[in-house]
């Protein structure tokens, strides 16, 4: 389409989730992503919010998913793993570039002492 040359912009939380997937690759699934976000950003998000976002990102074509084997510590339930598609990587890259470009030279004022 002539008006849509770049991937759609990512929301703030979408960025966190995508980054989580990237960090945990290839073992990214709901609970792990949730804990990663909690541990690194301090945001205690709910599991449903994570899955809602993962689902949306998958529908946008940024993520792919596959289902693992049931494990006993999950009460015999399966895991749904996520991995980045090229479009997802591109979108993340674009967001990263936008962010670092805008933040360039402001490190002194943004970083806490």
């Amino acid at each position: 389409m002539w008006f849509k040359t770049q991937a759609p912009a990512l929301g703030d939380f979408e960025q966190l989730v995508l980054l989580g997937v990237l960090r945990l690759d290839p073992g990214a699934y709901g609970a792990a992503i949730r804990q990663e976000i909690h541990a690194r950003s301090g945001r205690d998000v709910s599991i449903n919010a994570v899955y809602t976002t993962l689902d949306r990102l998958e529908n946008k074509g940024f993520l792919k998913s596959w289902v693992g084997e049931p494990t006993p510590q999950r009460g015999g339930r399966r895991r749904k793993f996520y991995g980045l598609r090229p479009a997802g990587v591109a979108a993340l890259r674009q967001a990263y570039h936008a962010f670092t470009a805008m933040a360039d030279g402001l490190q002194g004022r943004l970083e806490t002492k």
Binding site: Y29, R34, R78, K80
Partner: protein, 881 residues
Amino acid sequence: MMRRLAVWLLTKRLSPEWRDFVLGDLEEEFAARRAAPSSSAAAAHAWFWWQTIRCLAAPPPARQLLVPLERLPGDSRMRTLLADIRYSLRVMVRAPSFALSVVGVLALGIGGNAAIFSIVNAVLLRPLPIEEPERIVRVFHTPPQDAFPGMPTFALSPANFYDWQRAATSFEGMALFRSRQFTLTGTGAARSTVAGAIGAGFFDIVRARPAMGRVFRADEDTPGGKHVVILSDAFWKRELGGAADVIGRTLNLDGEAYTVVGVMPPAASIEAWPIMARDMWVPLALDDEARTVRENHNQQGVARLKRDVDLARAQSELDVIAKRLEREFPKENAGWGARIIPLQDVIVGDVRTPLLMLLGAVGLVLLIVCANVGNLLFTRALGRRKEIAIRSALGAGRGRVFQQLLVEALVLAGAGGTLGLLLAQLTLGAAATLLTDQVPRAGEISIDARVLLFVAGVSMLTGMLAGALPAIRAGRSDLTDALKEGGRSDGAVGIRTRRLLIVCEVALSLVLLMGAGVMLRSLQALRNDNAGFDLDNLLTMSVTLSESRYATPAQRTAFFDRTLQRLRALPGVEAAATIDNLPFQGGSVQPIVREGHAELLPRDQPTVQVREITPGYLRAMRIPLLRGRDVADGDEEVLLVSREAAKLLWGTDDPIGSRVTLPLVSRTMFRQVIGIVGDVKQGDLREAPAATVYRYTRERSWRDAMIVLRTAVPPGSLAVPAVAAIHAIDPEQPVDDVRTMVNVRDEQLTSPRFSALLLGIFAAVALLLASVGIYSVLSYIVRGRRREIGIRTALGARTTDVVRLVIREGMSPALIGIGAGAVGALAAGRLLERLVFGVSASDPLTLGAVAATLVVVALMASLVPAYRASRVDPLQALRAE
């Protein structure tokens, strides 16, 4: 526990494609948090719940399924069903009077069914409120059939029972019980109370555990045991104000102090089983002599089957034991067997057949309702032919039209069912006291889940039955025809179907009317049946002397002598006497042996009803003295024999002056027969009078007696003076069951009266519905054939011709229905035969009367439409075209 609830909630809330992943994640992290040394279990739980709540608030969205396009807008079953229901409701609102009449008729039919089924459910289907009631059996003797013709079961002899108890391995426990009347003093006025006297282990068998105190100990079931009593919850609350310190207190029974050792919980009282409905229980405490009595049968028995033993096996084990006892004690036991019957069957045995008969009858009423409503719906469907034709023209298939009409019928049936349920609830509530006397377990009648399920099922079935025929016929109607005719109704449509409905209604009504008629005639026969004495102007009452205050026969004799003297002196009293058991109430049955004849084995020895009377009994009851003389005050030990007994024992010999023994009373005491008297019905009204001997003994040993007063005034008016006269002699003496003899008799008639009343109501409703059905069908036909009638009149038909035409139209299906109904009634008669007395269930006279009634009703129902037809103005009828 709480976590399981959370998981359950999440399972409900989450869509299937997310359930596993979300729940798995939560479980996994929960497990990790619990295992972490830094976190407590409570914190982990709190976290889990917090996550749950957040997930419940906003679960991940369900994936939009990609569905084939054609399934989206089309006729999914559910969607059209909902549309049809909505449409049906609109139609109902648009024609409220039609809907109301249909729903009303349906409510009548379904309500009747719901009410009767509620009774059947409570009485027959619901298990007794005892732990594992199906394992509780009543234990009986079976008497030798030659000596006791027609008696299936008999009370137990203690010695035999204890032998069974020792030998049988099929039972967890067996116990004897009986009723025992006491005079209760010390709590208000002296009065008699009936206690349950129970053998050791009784409460264990029925699994009754005291709410306070304890049950009886084994050593208390012995004659040397202390006087102890266990109270029912009701008695404890009513008489002792529910005192918490009741254990250890004493009650004064028959002048002796009984120590309260326990109080039963409310649940232990079972209204339907007399022994468990008592105010109190005492140990049976048979003495050693009573325990060894083998030939006297006067105890009741109950037992609990072991878990792994079924009824048949227990029965065959008892059979073997009874056979062995017959061999060991032929003199006492020849011909006596053992029989166990499930407790529930004993309690409800008598009402099972009548109740099922009533359920069948009310089912027939429902069928008539179906026919009626079917007719109404049919008329309506035809009135809507244009609408249906347009629907068909727009592409609605026959199946679609069928479904819509059926759904309409079902919606109506649903409304009718709901209203009917309400009706049943109201009726049962209003009839609660009436029912108490009619059926056992009446207190348990209620509308429970099973009744609801039944009503739902019946409503569905009714809707389908009533709706199917019109729906099929309407779906079949010709499209072009219907559209061409426009709005004009046409009498020629569906007449055959309607005639069939009339035939069905009339036939079913006849079956019901026949049943009601036969029951009514049976009731009348029972009421008019010659009992052998004059029931009118007789007052009866029961007196039981207390054991301690009237210890000797002399004291007892003196009391009754004085009492009868006083009663005879009352103005309005013509005669007064006592007997041990009133007619209709049964009593002692004993072998009897003529002097000079050897006593045979019990299997062969004839038995008679034995009654103990005082002089004046014959006069009071107006029992005819056929030969010989009446007993007189000067006699010591004499007998009167009934005509039947004379025939049984003496045949053609003359009994008067001959002597007999009653071996159960004494084998050495000979009593002389001094007179022959008329036969009296001592037991069931339906049975022929039994052979009876009346004995008079100067010194009375019995403590209890029924007093009978022959009055010159209405007997009820003497109730108060009579009791006062007895109290003038002994103010502490309770007097119970003050009733007229007619009341005593009517008690026997409650079950047939109940059946006749309900059948009568059902038949009346059926008759009404049938006449309404005939009327509405004929009206419809006359309206539809106005033009034809107009032409006939214009061509010179006279009024009588027109009237005859219409009446023939109504009467021919009615007559066919009567014919079909007669066949049905004769078939149903075979089921009724067991319930009627003095009349055949296929009595031709009743059948004729019932058929005639139906002819008259059908004729009446045809008259108004016929009159209307005769008033058709030919000019107007033809111009209307």
